[in-house]
């Protein structure tokens, strides 16, 4: 039993070493993703382009424009004759924010019931929209301010750096993509090349075949985790506040779940191309509903239920907990068993479906 398992695992590693494309993907996918997400994506939006139509043209209004630009939220690139031109610029996509200061600006400032000016905001990009709205909270220059109701202290990521938010979840995204894809292809390839026809005439059982195929990829997945952690610490100074070992354990559970999904995909697909299509199909809901892209709390109830069934959701929570909050795995055990259930269910489905196909 063990010998057959090792024979299959060993063969898989040998084939993998000779398959340069797959071997390259093991290293290439994490590196590319982390560089893309780390450098290109910054949720802390700055320098949104803006235009001003200042009809008041007083020292106070000029001061307001200057302090708006000093906040670095917007960068004023144009001045406009009036609100119509601001709208035209918005339509043309030349600016995302139009600042309109009316003639009676000074008088409006005195009146506490009326807003002093108007912002025209490009609502087609939700991120820009929410950033620009922050301008409405800006204090009037040179005016005494009432003390704020709350003093806010941001824990864990006070500088609000995007890599600290993204990288822990990105580990899961990368693992999901590569692990599901590799296993899905691994068995389909065996069938496509006719190897399966030979294997079923040997004493190899379907569970030996499944496990033997999974084992090498668990190790590869953990190597990928190491690579991601190393690069993200070196380039983006992402902290590891909890125990690294806890993260590896959490990753191992997640990898198992992803591999079981991959095996199930491989029993559904007839060709390697179909396997890739199906993998992409499973990839999208995971990314969208796991809380990686959009906050879990903001989703409708049904979407949350689906999200709870997705292993990536739980891994994102585990990984953020361990890396950013310094939590211990023991505190987060509620996130582990859904992944184990997922693994067990899909492993059974894959094994059952696989033995059925021999007939």
């Amino acid at each position: 039993m063990l010998r057959r398992l090792l024979a299959i695992a060993g063969k898989e590693v040998r084939q993998l070493k000779r398959d340069r494309l797959t071997f390259g993907m093991i290293v290439g996918v994490p590196l590319l993703q982390i560089l893309l997400f780390g450098y290109a994506i910054d949720l802390d939006v700055r320098n949104v382009s803006a235009a001003v139509a200042d009809h008041a043209n007083t020292s106070l209004s000029r001061q307001l424009v200057a302090s708006t630009e000093a906040s670095q939220v917007v960068r004023i690139t144009r001045s406009a004759a009036g609100p119509e031109e601001l709208e035209a610029l918005l339509d043309a996509g030349e600016i995302d924010v139009g600042i309109y200061i009316p003639h009676d600006f000074e008088r409006r400032v005195m009146d506490a019931d009326r807003p002093a000016g108007q912002l025209l905001i490009n609502g087609s990009d939700p991120t820009v929209e929410s950033i620009a709205r922050r301008l409405t909270q800006m204090p009037l220059p040179g005016r005494a301010q009432p003390p704020p109701l709350f003093e806010a202290r941001t824990y864990y990521n006070p500088e609000r750096r995007s890599p600290v938010n993204i990288v822990p979840a990105l580990i899961g995204v990368i693992l999901h993509l590569t692990m599901v894809l590799f296993t899905a292809i691994a068995i389909v390839r065996e069938r496509e090349r006719g190897n399966l026809e030979l294997l079923i005439t040997t004493p190899v059982t379907s569970s030996e075949l499944m496990l033997g195929k999974i084992i090498p990829y668990v190790i590869i997945g953990l190597i990928q985790v190491t690579l991601i952690l190393w690069v993200s610490q070196w380039l983006f100074d992402v902290p590891v506040r909890g125990h690294v070992l806890d993260l590896y354990l959490a990753s191992a559970f997640f990898i198992l779940a992803a591999l079981a999904l991959g095996l199930t995909v491989s029993t559904l697909a007839k060709t390697q191309f179909q396997a890739i299509q199906l993998t992409v199909f499973t990839f999208l809901p995971s990314i969208l509903l796991s809380g990686f892209m959009f906050p879990f709390e903001g989703m409708p109830r049904v979407a949350q239920w689906i999200g709870e069934a997705i292993p990536l959701t739980h891994f994102v929570r585990l990984s953020r907990g361990i890396l950013v909050r310094g939590a211990e795995l023991g505190e987060l055990h509620a996130e582990i068993w859904p992944m184990l259930v997922f693994f067990t269910v899909f492993m059974i489905v894959a094994t059952l479906r696989f033995s059925k196909r021999l007939d």
Binding site: A7, K11, Q15, R18, D19, G194, L198, T202, P203, T205
Partner: protein, 318 residues
Amino acid sequence: MSDSIAIDAKGLTKRFGSLTAVDDLHLQIPEAAIYGFLGPNGSGKSTAIRMLCGLLTPTAGEVEVLGFRVKGQAEELKRHIGYMTQKFSLYEDLTVEENLRFLAAVYGLPRRDLKQRIDGALEEYWLTEQRKQFAGTMSGGQKQRLALAGATLHRPRLLILDEPTSAVDPQSRRDFWDILFALVEHGTTVLVSTHYMDEAERCHNLAILDRGRLVAEGRPRDLIRNINAGVVEIETASPRAARDCLEATDGVQSVAQLGTRLHALTDKAVEDPAGLIRRALEKAHIDSEVDSVTANLEDVFVAATRLNRHGGRETHAA
């Protein structure tokens, strides 16, 4: 050849939905001999073979192979069976030696004499020089020898070959059969499916399948001797016209063209087959030379499968 039975099948039937791939097959296959399945594509050869070694569960009927009941003992049986698939099914991105080592581990062969056994197999199948070569880069004949080496590495008592020589040249085919005969001498039972007449002729026993039914069984020589038809050879300058004429003649089962010659099969009831043909052709004013000849295996095959097609009558020769 010994007298004991390697495979005993009773009423073997396999249905896929509404299609009956194998219909009520009764077989007794003797040990230490080569048993051939001959039949056109889709005749149920592969399905029958797969049921006989436990890869497919029969819809009805029972099989006992090497003393194992296929129902329930299929896994134990697998250790005693070597199976060579129609398409090359070893790993093309592993070397010859790695493939054999993989199979040895999968069959749980003892580690002690593993190296010896693999060296022995490489030598026996003339693959010593290819030891480090990737299986995917080898020629058709070499691949076939590797597949056979892999299928026999665990010294199976029953070797099953599904159309083994469809991708190799005649010389390789001849070498391949020499190896098979050597295996049989050492007591292995060989089950082979084919649609090549020259291969079928080399089998000790032959079963002809047509549309899932056994239409003839016996030693090739007996099958030829007891063919249920008269065989006539016709040499003519206008074979197409002759063929059309004969196919419309009563008592003629079938006509097959071989270059400028035709082979016509006549009903067994016809007393003078050559005379019947000659008269028919003279009547149609076709110049020809007509002779009664001894049947060959192809004639047997055509006669057997034709009859089944027309009336469903079975011709159990021997």
